[in-house]
Amino acid sequence: MAFVTPTATRWVAGVAALVLVLASVSFVVPVSGTVSPVSFDDTVKTGGTAVDVQQAKTDGFEVPVAQAHFSRYRYIIGYYGVGTAAADVASPESARQFGDPLAVFVSDYATVSPVLDEDDYLRTEHNRHPGWVEASDAVFVVDSDARIPSGPIVVPFSDPTAARSFTDEYGGTVVDWETLRERSESSLSGRLDAFESSVESHHDWADQTTAAREPLFDRPVSTVVGEDAPTIEAAVESAPEGTAVYVPPGTYSVDSIDVNRSITLLGAGNATHLVGDGNGTVVHVRADEAAVGNLSISGVGSVGTRRVRATNESVDWDTRVQLAYGRGDAGVVLDGATDSALRNVIIDTPASGVIVRESADSVLDNLTIRGAATPSEGFMGIVLIGEPSVVQHSTLHDGRDGVYTHRADGSVVRDNYMEGGRYGVHEMYTSDMLVADNVVRDERIGVIIMTRPVGNLVVGNDIRDSDFGFIPAGSNTYVADNVFATNEYGMDVSGDRQVYTRNVVVGNNIGVRGSSTFPTNVVVRNDIVGNDVQVESTLGPMRTWTTDGEGNYWGDLPLADEDRDGAYDRAFQPSGPIDSELGRHPGALVLSRSPVMDALRSARDEVAGLRGSGVVDAAPRTEPVRSATLASLNATETANTTGAMTHTEKPNV
């Protein structure tokens, strides 16, 4: 140890002191810099539908935005819609996940002379960009006429006088930030009630709409094909309005049938078979209150999409989508056929089955559509564009997507069976739609919601043997009472402020995938058992899937419930390396009881918004929510063990 000399010691001591002094500079460095607004483009964006954002971009109207800086979240959250920001900032989920809001900034319309155009969209003088104002210093105009496509908006002003002159012109009241937050605050039970009543009203609307279309199939027969007219085309041309054309059993070669008046084309069931020439659409319905029923159709053209390939400035995004999905060949096309209906129709098609364009309140009931054997060859079973329709009791085999929607807000898709295609239900740019009680088997994805819509309802569906049970985008989706079993992935928890409840997720390779940057989704009272991997979470921070003291059922865990409140006494991290093996390997239990794990567990619940990705249930249930359903799935006894259910082999789709 000759090198340890008193001189060396002096040097070492000096260096150590210097290092510590340098490290102590950290006490002078302000850890929390000043919070100032950033460019909205640089925020993690949420709220507002893609329709809102796209249309605002094309039409040049305003979507008031907000940005929230939280004490314990790495990014700045940008909100399309100030009301959404107020709701989010006020929610207990945000407080737990992100810490305290350090500052919220909102668009300031005080200095840009805002006006409403003929659609009640907000516009500024000379398209000037509003600046930022801190929410606590701003006032907000609520309940005015101002809106964006998805609904009314809150308009913020830094100056109360400017706000009042806005309300003088366009109505509404002026409130402060505190009041706006209180207005936006919503308890889980309140949100659940609202969702349930929305489900009910969608069903009511679908029932009423179905009943209202009933008379179309009771119209008196004026024309019988083969007796009163030689061909179906001729019969359709000659039949008086408000009557039915009867097509007796037989196979009819047709070119293209155009139903241009309010008549009903009625066959004798399966035995009435219309065969197209293999080019284009077989039946075009272009009149209100027209109907087609009791027949089968084949010989549809093979063109699925007439997509615009070239970048053409004159074609906006909406038209582009319509051309891509709404102009292909189909068995039946409803085009501007409001209050029309299809019933008991069987369609074999290499392209689409039924395309419904701008035909409000139409009903598609008990259809059977058989698409191309491989999804990439075929196209959509049913396409809904522009207006709400009812699709029910139908069977959709193969092809690409069972039901594809584009801006069909308010539609109801219920009690259908879908099998062998790409997606069962594919929602694009569609908000406020009910997807209920459908059975989906062997698809790539059971139900998928894209393009950030709001207020969709996905309830009571049973999706199995698919790659993905359910994937949502957007916000405020109600996902309830579904069964996701023996899929590759059960359900995806993504988007913002979605509510997942009473779902049964059983026997999937991966039960739940948490793939949202936002930890504001509510996941409670679900039964998630017997999945090879219960939860996979790779994106976003640590999330807590517990609300108001209610968690989920993760199987029969070897944990204690001393107070017998129906929840295990400690938090459970289904995504964690130890907890995920709890009840499967005895070693996991022993390791989980170590002081190290105890200490890390208690630290984990702090600053969740800055931690590595994962999922925690603070109140894991000791009993399942839907034990009868679990029993019917044969998943109760072996709750948390693998192999409760067998995976069926899926063909490559």
Binding site: M1, V4, T5, P6, A8, T9, R10, V12, A13, A16, V19, L20, A23, S24, S26, F27, V29, V31, S32, G33, V35, V38, S39, D42, T43, V44, H69, F70, S71, R72, Y73, R74, Y75, I76, G99, D100, L102, P541, M542, G576, V596, A599, L600, A603, R604, E606, V607, G609, L610, R611, G612, S613, G614
Partner: protein
């Protein structure tokens, strides 16, 4: 000799003794092994928790209970017999014949042992802190970062506080080694204080609260009574709660008090000055 010459020779004595201590530490395999175990544990905890996969503040929270329990252990292991073994081997008497002053002797022992302790504690924490950029997912460059949420400065503060905490536990152990007259005494005192620091004082505070002996307002003062409580208060005050600027001064006084007080006790009890 002038006062200045006195001081110079005292400082020379101090560094000579510190050098001897450093040599002893480096030559004791058991202590080196303990230091290695400490370092591996700290880095292991960082890798096991979810904090290092997110940021510096959560990592501080993950590490805090372990640092709190292990740093006193390391400090005590390094220091609890230093003065006592010098006394028992007769080295203290030899040193006195050279005219080494008590502050120079105690200061030298403390400096030598502390250098080893600080290197291990600070070094381990630096490595643990370095796991954050390694384990965290890459941050998208197109998003603005919220500077107020997390910062390496928070972790640096934590590391410095851990060093101060380590120094105060080392000085307490040094006082034990100076005050104890037998090895049994030293072990009993060391273990007793260790248990009191890590468990006892906090438990007493909780018990006092539970029985209503004192109110919640006195808790900051109670916490400042033990090095552990004071350290924890400081970590939460300046390293974790970065948004709120309420420096827990009383905790700083507490921690500093233990450091200075224990060194004073060690100086006084090292040997009886010749009249």
């Amino acid at each position: 000799m002038s006062a200045a010459e006195d001081l110079t020779s005292a400082v020379d004595d101090l560094f000579t003794i510190a050098t001897r201590e450093l040599r002893t530490v480096v030559r004791t395999p058991a202590v080196v092994a303990l230091a290695v175990v400490f370092a591996l544990t700290v880095v292991g905890v960082a890798a096991a928790g979810s904090g290092a996969r997110g940021g510096y503040v959560p990592l501080v929270l993950d590490l805090l209970p372990f640092v709190e329990a292990l740093v006193p252990l390391l400090g005590f292991a390094l220091c609890y017999r230093t003065v006592l073994s010098d006394r028992r081997s007769g080295e203290l008497d030899v040193l006195q014949t050279f005219g080494v002053s008590r502050p120079a002797y105690v200061g030298g022992v403390f400096l030598g042992r502390s250098l080893a302790l600080v290197a291990v504690v600070f070094g381990s924490l630096l490595v643990a802190g370095a796991t954050v950029p390694v384990l965290s997912p890459e941050k998208p460059t197109f998003l603005a970062l919220n500077a107020a949420a997390d910062s390496p400065a928070a972790f640096a503060r934590f590391a410095v506080l851990a060093v101060v905490f380590a120094l105060s536990t080392a000085s307490v152990a040094l006082a034990v080694s100076a005050a104890a007259r037998t090895a049994r005494q030293a072990i009993a005192l060391a273990v007793g204080l260790l248990v009191a620091f890590v468990v006892g004082v906090d438990a007493a505070a909780v018990a006092g609260l539970a029985t209503g002996r004192f109110g919640i307002d006195t808790v900051p003062h109670l916490l400042a009574l033990s090095p552990n409580g004071a350290f924890r208060s400081l970590v939460f005050g300046v390293a974790v709660e970065t948004g709120q600027a309420t420096t827990p001064l009383v905790a700083l006084v507490g921690l500093g008090g233990w450091l200075a007080g224990a060194l004073f006790v060690a100086v006084v009890t090292a040997w009886k000055p010749v009249e």
